[in-house]
């Protein structure tokens, strides 16, 4: 219900925007829809985009459900991709299943490793994890740049900063059209994380700590230990996103391997209200909007108008869901009472 109203508002605002920019809204909207959800091929592209968005969003949401901000998913994705690419380099002659498994495990390790520093600093010394994770993005970017410009540069790349193509057995199998196996990996990880947070004792402690650190201490939950595991886990999930993106979509390590997914993941997680269970749906919508938004640029819509349009749809559709949880109070008091959503 709220979703529909929000979408309608977004489309209306978008119409005004497109008319103002001199475009035919109907033509633009139908192209957006066709390119993202119109046929199985379009679905495949959208799903491939939703996979890294969903995993990055999950990474941020895991930390967020404990009140921590992992702003470093972007760098952790790169670290995961680097680790996976490294395994592919040394294990080029391994059988496919073993190679891919090893790559993804390495990706998890790489992302987790990049989060260890901020996690320890936060848990032991109380250093703000927002700053440290953000700064490590820069480190990961430079590392990728150095690798693809230097030691890992493909001699056949005509001097472009690209690592060599992955061997065929290092690529994820496809499910249908171009949709790759990463979809099932992401779905499984999101389900596992949602179940873990909702139904396990570990998740219970996480939710207590996220709701009130003082209550966690009161009941004997060790906060430093929790902070450490949660931040490293968050980094590991982001790292997995990097590995899946490398082996599923990119097929080679490039400077732009993370493609902003780590930052988009923050938006995904925030719109999912930091709930792992909400990440999948948001990521799918986000993916569809991104793919649709990119497609209309071929119709002469400038990239900035396209980006604004994407933002309208995202915030209209999901933001409405967020606001429908509040009740407007008109008695002059500035308190709005959060209510459990009825939908």
């Amino acid at each position: 219900m709220a979703f529909g109203i929000g979408l309608a508002i977004a489309l209306f605002l978008g119409t005004l925007l497109l008319l103002g920019a001199g475009h035919d809204p109907l033509r633009i909207y139908s192209r957006m829809f066709e390119a993202s959800l119109g046929d199985p091929d379009a679905w495949a592209i959208t799903l491939n985009r939703a996979v890294p968005l969903g995993l990055a969003g999950l990474a941020v949401a895991i930390a967020g459900s404990m009140g921590l901000w992992n702003i470093g998913a972007e760098g952790q994705i790169m670290a995961g991709a680097i680790a996976a690419a490294w395994v592919a380099r040394i294990g080029g002659d391994w059988p496919g299943f073993a190679l891919i498994t090893a790559m993804l495990i390495a990706a998890i390790g790489g992302g987790g490793l990049l989060a260890v520093g901020p996690a320890v600093a936060r848990a032991k010394l109380g250093v703000n994890e927002i700053i440290t994770t953000l700064m490590l993005n820069e480190v990961a970017i430079r590392l990728v740049q150095w690798l693809v410009h230097g030691p890992w540069k493909d001699p056949d790349s005509f001097n472009f900063p690209l690592a060599p193509m992955l061997p065929d057995q290092a690529r994820l199998p496809t499910l249908f059209s171009r949709a790759h196996f990463g979809l099932l990996i992401a779905a499984a990880v999101i389900v596992m994380a949602s179940v873990a947070v909702r139904y396990t004792a570990w998740g219970y402690e996480l939710r207590i700590a996220g709701s009130s650190g003082a209550t966690a201490r009161y009941s004997g939950i060790s906060l430093p230990k929790k902070v450490l595991t949660v931040l490293v886990l968050s980094g590991a999930v982001a790292g997995l996103a990097g590995g899946v993106e490398l082996a599923g979509t990119a097929d080679r390590l490039t400077e732009t391997i993370s493609n902003g997914f780590g930052f988009a993941g923050i938006i995904v997680a925030a719109l999912a209200l930091m709930r792992p269970s909400g990440v999948a749906a948001v990521a799918l919508l986000f993916g569809a909007v991104q793919i649709g938004g990119q497609s209309i640029q071929t119709l002469g819509v400038s990239s900035s108008v396209s980006t604004i349009l994407q933002a309208f749809v995202l915030f209209g559709a999901i933001g409405a869901g967020v606001f429908s949880r509040y009740r407007l109070s008109l008695d002059g008091g500035s308190h709005s009472i959060p209510e459990k959503a009825k939908s």
């Binding site: 873990a196 004792a201 570990w202 219970y204 209550t215 966690a216 009161y218 459990k340």
Partner: protein
């Protein structure tokens, strides 16, 4: 604005509040309060916690709007819609929590929110320096705020109000953040402002400070004025304390004394620091025996909260030993303490005892979720069954048990929390402000539960600001003031007045003993 007062105007009133009423949902904070403050005087507003002092001052400062009543400043009637209205009428408030920006300089903080569109730093610093020189507020205008002590920050807050040319200054418990020598200095500063023709309203519940600083005093109790504009020169602190705590006899009959058994909780030379690293309490020694309720009386902020936290294991003592039933638990974790039979009902219910954003069930199982696991999972049915048992046994009125805890009313929150803590038949119960803010039924229910624990043979520590409650329920009553156990009373024979005096002024107790 008002010029320096001429002798003829001196007797005039700068603040007149008449018949002020203010209710919040379920609470009457002010029930027809009157207050009159003479121009050029320092006026103390006294009262126990919850007497309505802060509400009244927030009304005077334009933060709250009264339900009814009249408000006159310098003889003119006003209806303030917001603090800016009050400021333009010359009323400024220095709140207990400072509203300052650490990275800004003193001068920038002073003009914050009222700065001219072009900020001439030098000019402002000179203006601020002039005001601080005039009233003896020693701070350097160009110094960044983060370098300042709490006492200096308070001076910045006072400067903020003076820079806006307030003629009436309200200081909400200004001495809580100050060292004794800073308190003396504050007294001098306030005197200079009064001599300049300004009026100061000084909110406090510390009698010995008030008598040194203030000219007049008004005492509030339970939302009403019980004594207006007493002349401090002719009123002794005995009389003030009498007004503050009242003389109402203990209403309920005392429960039969139980026969105390062996000591279950023992504190030996226990000391601990507060949040700001200053000593919160020192060398506390007492024992609680099986079948005994020991009460700790005291005005908030005298170390009771920290004492409860140390016993529960949420704060490390700086010194001393804590024994439970003969075992040293000084270093035990909160979970270990609970498992060995120590229940803790914290003062902060939603936020320490209960997790605000989780469901009723999630909160009910906080102490026992580890026993409801199968493998990694918490068994939902088991958790639910446990929660409904607590809910029915302790009379928690609730809707959906999977609904958010915040849907429960204050009394039901406390029943759930107390029920959860008492469910495992603990041997020691620490209850901090267990009945604060509850309605009559809720108070009775919680008090009965604590008495049941005593009669069952548990050792109960009850920390409260409600003297009547302590005198009625406890078997022994300790008074804590300034982080020290000042006195011990037998609640059966002690008078409310005696205990109140010990709570309020250290000086009086030493004089008596």
């Amino acid at each position: 604005m008002t010029q320096t007062s001429t002798p003829g105007e001196e007797a005039q009133l700068s603040v007149e509040l008449a018949g002020i009423w203010k209710t919040f949902p379920g609470v009457v904070a002010n029930a027809g309060v009157d207050l009159a403050v003479r121009r050029g005087s320092i006026h103390a507003l006294l009262g126990e916690n919850g007497a309505g002092k802060s509400t009244l001052m927030n009304i005077l400062a334009g933060v709250y709007r009264p339900d009814s009543g009249e408000l006159r400043i310098q003889g003119l009637q006003h209806q303030f819609r917001n603090p800016a209205d009050a400021l333009s009428a010359g009323v400024g408030m220095v709140h207990q929590e400072f509203r300052l920006i650490p990275s800004f300089s003193v001068a920038e903080n002073v003009v914050l929110g009222a700065a001219p569109s072009v900020i001439k730093t030098r000019q402002i610093e000179r203006d601020v320096a002039a005001i601080s020189h005039k009233f003896g507020l020693k701070v350097e205008p160009s110094q960044p705020l983060w370098q300042l002590s709490m006492g200096e920050r308070q001076k910045v807050e006072i400067l903020k109000v003076l820079w806006r040319d307030a003629q009436v200054l309200i200081l909400d418990e200004p001495t809580t953040v100050l060292t004794p020598s800073e308190v003396d200095e504050l007294g001098d500063i306030l005197r200079r402002m009064a001599n300049d023709g300004r009026s100061i309203v000084f909110i406090s519940h510390k009698l010995h400070e008030v008598s040194g600083i203030c000219d007049e005093a008004t005492v509030l109790r339970q939302g009403k004025t019980v004594a207006g504009s007493l002349d401090m020169a002719t009123t002794d602190s005995d009389e003030l304390a009498h007004h503050m705590v009242g003389t109402s006899p203990a209403i309920a009959t005392r429960p039969e004394a139980a026969t105390p058994g062996r000591p279950l909780l023992e504190l030996r030379n226990l000391s601990a620091d507060g949040d700001r690293g200053v000593c919160a309490f020192s060398d506390v020694n007492f024992k609680i025996n099986s079948g005994e309720i020991v009460g700790v009386a005291g005005v908030a902020g005298n170390g009771q909260r920290e004492l409860a936290d140390v016993i529960a294991g949420l704060r490390s003592p700086s010194k001393g030993t804590l024994m439970m039933d003969g075992t040293d638990i000084t270093a035990a974790s909160p979970r270990r303490r609970f498992q060995s039979g120590l229940a803790y009902i914290p003062e902060d219910r939603l936020g320490v005892g209960l997790a605000p954003r989780l469901s009723i069930t999630d909160n009910a199982i906080l102490r026992v979720y580890r026993q409801q696991r199968r493998g990694l999972f918490i068994l939902a049915e088991k958790a639910m069954a446990y929660c409904s048992e607590i809910v029915s046994r302790f009379g928690v009125r609730s809707g959906d048990l999977n609904g958010p805890i915040a849907t429960l009313s204050g009394g039901n929150l406390q029943r759930l929390l107390v029920g959860r803590e008492l469910d495992g038949e603990p041997s020691v119960v620490v209850a901090s402000q267990p009945t604060r803010g509850l309605d009559v039924q809720g108070v009775k229910a919680i008090q009965d539960l604590l008495l049941d624990q005593r009669n069952r043979g548990a050792a109960v520590l009850m920390i409260s600001e409600d003297l009547d409650e302590l005198l009625t329920l406890t078997d022994r009553l300790l008074v804590m003031e300034g982080g020290i156990i000042r006195a011990e009373f037998d609640p059966g024979t002690a008078s409310r007045h005696e205990v109140g005096m010990a709570m309020l002024s250290h000086a009086q107790v030493t004089a008596q003993s």
